[in-house]
């Protein structure tokens, strides 16, 4: 049986090689279908990877607690509509919830920043040191804001890439120079490594960090000391996020002495929520392209069935001869199935090559990120094999049911 299969495969390739044009046209549907699947899947994967990279650029596992949504006499304030979160909330969360590996707080405002004869308006963030860890900022040069800076309300600043580009001459070293924020001089102690766009499309590099204490006392001002714009927290493992969110909610409700029927006076958001929206979009895209690809694979399969039916008719006499010398029905069946699968498989392989080239071209021409996944190649391979098997079954069965006497007489 093995010699039989081997020789039949070889014969199938020979027949395919003899009718290259016909085989090529027959395989076209499969080639285009598989190519489309490979290319689109890699574009989809690339897009998804880009999205998760963006989400990750905001820091992984980040929980953001925003103040607000208080109700005063029936009028509900929006997010950040009231000052309800404080530094002591942040300190307390860290103490009470062991799941949280880090907490931080910050407040921000857009301010004018001056260096020499240049100026720029950018968001100035007063932060506690943990913030840099949570948001996963790293430094192009210089170093972080420390607890000591916070304790002494030091006039030091970290600047983002966009701020550097707008305030400093090209090639000028910002670290060590003095900039003025709201007329208060600050020494630049570090430049942040660029992060690019956020998932929402805002420029994450247009940013200045100064110690929280300095910000509330000397720059941004405050209604009362210790009020924060937002609290930040993080867990070591992403799967702990939901539990941590609930713990924070409970702790804050307890601290704020909210009755059970009162709504939260804060809002908790996580990166997961943000990522979900993006994921949903790319999933829709994936389903759509699979629909398109399935149709072209279906058309390809029908093409194979058609050419095989023609082949069975053309080779009726050959089938008769094979039967006369002892081919059983299953021999004929297997022979034509193998021919069908050879067609679809070779088509699939060309399709895979086409898909990879297509993905490359998309990256080069359109600049979209693409990732070619080995799984999609493997899936395309087996799928084209299955198409050959499925659409080859009818013609092969027809061939195997020929009457040898009539087949031998066929003109």
């Amino acid at each position: 049986m093995n010699a039989f299969i081997l020789l039949t495969v070889l014969t199938a390739f020979r027949i395919l090689g003899r009718n290259r044009l016909r085989a090529g046209l027959t395989m076209l549907g499969i080639i285009i279908g598989v190519g489309a699947v490979i290319a689109l899947v890699s574009i989809g994967h690339g897009a998804r990877a880009a999205v998760s990279a963006q989400v990750a650029s905001m820091g992984t596992n980040v929980i953001i607690v925003l103040p607000g949504a208080t109700t005063v006499g029936g009028v509900r304030g929006g997010q950040g509509g009231a000052v309800t979160l404080t530094v002591s909330d942040g300190l307390d969360l860290k103490k009470k919830i062991p799941l949280l590996s880090e907490t931080a707080w910050a407040k921000r405002d857009v301010m004018q920043i001056v260096y020499g004869n240049r100026n720029w308006n950018g968001p100035v963030n007063g932060i506690s040191p943990g913030y840099l860890t949570i948001r996963d900022w790293s430094y192009g040069s210089g170093g972080p804001i420390t607890q000591a800076d916070l304790d002494s309300a030091a006039r030091v600043a970290l600047v983002g890439q966009t701020v550097v580009e707008n305030l400093f001459e090209a090639g000028e070293e910002p670290v060590g120079s003095t900039i003025r924020i709201k007329n208060v001089p600050f020494r630049v102690i570090g430049v942040l490594a660029p992060k690019g766009q956020s998932a929402q499309g805002s420029d994450q590099d247009d940013i200045i960090f100064i110690p929280f204490s300095t910000a509330e006392r000397k720059v941004l001002g405050t209604l009362f000391l210790g009020s924060v714009g937002a609290l930040f927290a993080t867990t070591d493992r992403p799967e702990d996020l939901p539990e941590a969110v609930e713990a924070i909610r409970e702790a804050l409700r307890a601290r704020h002495r909210l009755q059970t029927d009162q709504p939260d006076d804060f809002t908790i958001r996580t990166q997961v929520d943000i990522g979900k929206v993006q994921e949903g979009t790319s999933q829709t895209l994936t389903i759509m392209m699979f629909a398109v690809a399935s149709i072209s694979l279906l058309v390809g399969g029908i093409g194979i069935m058609n050419i095989l039916l023609v082949s069975v008719t053309e080779r009726t006499r050959e089938i008769g001869v094979r039967m006369a010398v002892g081919a059983k029905r299953r021999h004929i069946l297997i022979q034509f199935l193998i021919e069908a699968m050879t067609l679809s498989l070779v088509g699939g392989l060309f399709g895979i090559i086409l898909g990879i080239l297509g993905a490359r071209a998309t990256t080069v021409i359109a600049g979209w990120p693409t990732i070619i996944s080995p799984e999609s190649i493997l899936a395309a391979f087996f799928f084209s094999l299955a198409i050959g098997l499925f659409f080859g079954l009818y013609p092969a069965n027809k061939a195997s049911r020929l009457n040898p006497i009539e087949a031998l007489r066929w003109e």
Binding site: G320, M323, A324, V325
Partner: protein, 243 residues
């Protein structure tokens, strides 16, 4: 020598819609091992139907057919394929070689379906080609061979499985006189030297003259069955295969 074929009361009825067309009507036939039988008759006499049944391509409607001691009249499709593969060699009027496939591969076809290892298939086919005087032509394609040579490849294909009978259906019908003689001498030599039983269908008397027994069919029945002295005995020794 022993009896190879016993047919008792064979009949075959084809149904064309509501009409029943009898192709064979009670054929009784015995063929001994080593015989060279010519079956003659006009078209429509039932000789093709008889050949199809003898060749296990078809089964009779009624009657029994014993081949080499086993009843094959009621065999199933796969069983018939197996019998054709091991016990019967076919030679057709129009050669019926598989196109664009080498002579060697054509000749090895029955062994291929027997599931033999490739090496043995090749060796068997090469030996069969040598027996019909075509050694060294194994890699030729049918289109590169003359009609006579193509028919020899077909004979090699029939021989390769060492069959009990060789069925030749008008083997010279598409050949010129010289090639016809050539092919008939090959068949006669196989019969006389190797003792292969041959059943030959023909309507040419000079071709039938190579056989040692002549059966005449008419309207689905055997109307004459006689032994004859082969007109060409002795010519086979003129030989086609030069050692």
């Amino acid at each position: 020598m022993g009896t190879l074929i016993v047919c008792k009361d064979l009949s075959k009825i084809y149904r064309l819609g509501d009409v029943e067309v009898p192709a064979l009507r009670g054929v009784n036939l015995e063929i001994q091992r080593g015989e060279f039988v010519a079956v003659m008759g006009a078209s429509g006499s039932g000789k093709s139907t008889l050949m199809n049944i003898l060749g296990c391509l078809d089964t009779p409607t009624t009657g029994s057919y014993w081949l080499d001691g086993s009843d094959v009249a009621r065999a199933g499709q796969d069983e018939l394929a197996e019998i054709r593969n091991r016990r019967i060699g076919f030679v057709f009027q129009n050669f019926n070689l598989i196109p664009r496939t080498s002579a060697l591969e054509n000749a090895q076809l029955p062994l291929f379906y027997r599931g033999m290892p490739l090496r043995e298939q090749r060796a068997g086919a090469a030996a069969a080609l040598a027996r019909v005087g075509l050694s060294g032509r194994g890699d030729h394609y049918p289109a590169q061979l003359s009609g006579g040579q193509q028919q020899r490849v077909a004979i090699a294909r029939a021989l390769v499985s060492s069959p009990s009978i060789l069925l030749a259906d008008e083997p010279t019908g598409n050949l010129d006189t010289e090639s016809s003689q050539d092919i008939m001498e090959v068949l006669q030599r196989l019969n006389q030297e190797d003792g292969i039983t041959i059943i030959l269908v023909t309507h040419e008397t000079d071709i039938a003259a190579y056989a040692s027994r002549e059966i005449l069919m008419k309207d689905g029945q055997i109307v004459r069955d006689r032994a004859r002295a082969s007109a060409h005995s002795g010519r086979a020794s003129a030989g086609l295969v030069k050692p």
